[in-house]
Symmetry: C2
Subunit: 212 residues, 2 copies
């Protein structure tokens, strides 16, 4: 990210009315870490928490960001952000370092190259779905996070296989977002199209293991 | 590639003694397209041919390169090269355009982001194996091609499932090359380590499909 203008978010002070203060799965979108902490404090039951951030907060408010990361179950960042937060170039080392700060799970988003999931005892790599039309990547990361959290919330756990499937769900949903501006494409997506892309993604990376 | 110095390859004139002039699988490494054509002409039986190239030849000798591409079954290039050859930004369009020039199969190599395989009726995406130690990427593309061609030659066909497995074999072999300089790591690799990485790569991208 080259430039950040906070706009209305500069003075945003979110209220969390019930029953939203007791949801079991919470996603803290990329915003001032102090607001992320405030939202966390307003939750009456301890939810499973995912969070996103960006270079602006990593360099601007590192101490507050550390406090957020310490209270998060899943940290979602892109590759450059993971390297900045951890000070490590190698993505395995970066994910390890971030997991050592608190999160059980680190998701490293790589745009058109897909995403990597680091969790207890494993790594999962999901490719992005190759698209004929890719108009605007804006919102792809948030859609990925939304699809992922939606799936986790529906399953009610963050076990290894659920996490992998959630990353797949996030990838599929994000593939629609980039095909048009804003929510134009995502708003019209039906269950059939989602199922089709799920199958497309499965076929993309499936192969018969080689017997040596 | 920022700069190319041909060195001894500027005046290289390869001889192909028997029985190498009748091998069933031939890989034309990245070199002057005229030499690639000469080697093709010296083959006494028509082999299955794969070829690599680079920006230096794409811009320097485009017509000769076109003649090579027209006679190749598998074209292996990186993403930037695929875009230069085809004039297309979108990788699906780029692969289509290159396949329209002759090759049945196009492999687009993306370094640490893995590789994409485009063939009749399908796309296959294989992630690179995340490595703790990555010292030098030099030779990774050639090792990938070598592993791929070795597997295809052993199987004796270029059918869809064989192609996928060959890309997996290439990925596994390339993962060793980058761990040290030159052939230092690759030279000491045993069958057990190869089997281990095959399993690692399978586990990396395997997931239980989501039922909607």
């Amino acid at each position: 990210t080259e430039d950040t203008q906070l706009g209305v978010f500069a003075e945003f002070d979110p209220k969390i009315p019930g029953p939203y203060n007791e949801v079991p799965f919470l996603f803290l979108g990329n915003i001032h870490p102090q607001l992320q902490l405030d939202v966390l404090d307003k939750m009456t039951k301890k939810p499973i928490v995912a969070a996103d951030t960006m270079n602006f907060w990593i360099t601007g408010t590192p101490d507050l960001l550390r406090q957020v990361i310490a209270r998060v179950d899943l940290m979602l960042v892109n590759d450059a952000e993971a390297q900045m937060i951890s000070g490590k170039t190698n993505l395995l080392d970066a994910a390890d370092a971030i997991r050592a700060m608190g999160p059980k799970v680190v998701v490293i988003k790589k745009g058109s190259h897909g995403a990597m999931l680091f969790f207890e005892g494993g790594i999962f790599v999901v490719p992005a779905i190759p698209l004929r039309t890719a108009k605007d990547p804006t919102g792809a990361g948030d859609t990925f996070a939304g699809g992922m959290m939606g799936y986790l919330a529906r399953q009610g756990n963050i076990e290894a296989e659920t996490l992998k499937q959630a990353a797949v769900a996030g990838t599929v949903m994000a593939s629609f977002t980039v095909e048009d501006f804003s929510l134009n494409r995502l708003g019209s997506v039906g269950k059939g199209e989602i199922a089709e892309r799920m199958e497309q993604l499965r076929a993309l990376s499936a192969f018969t293991p080689i017997q040596l």
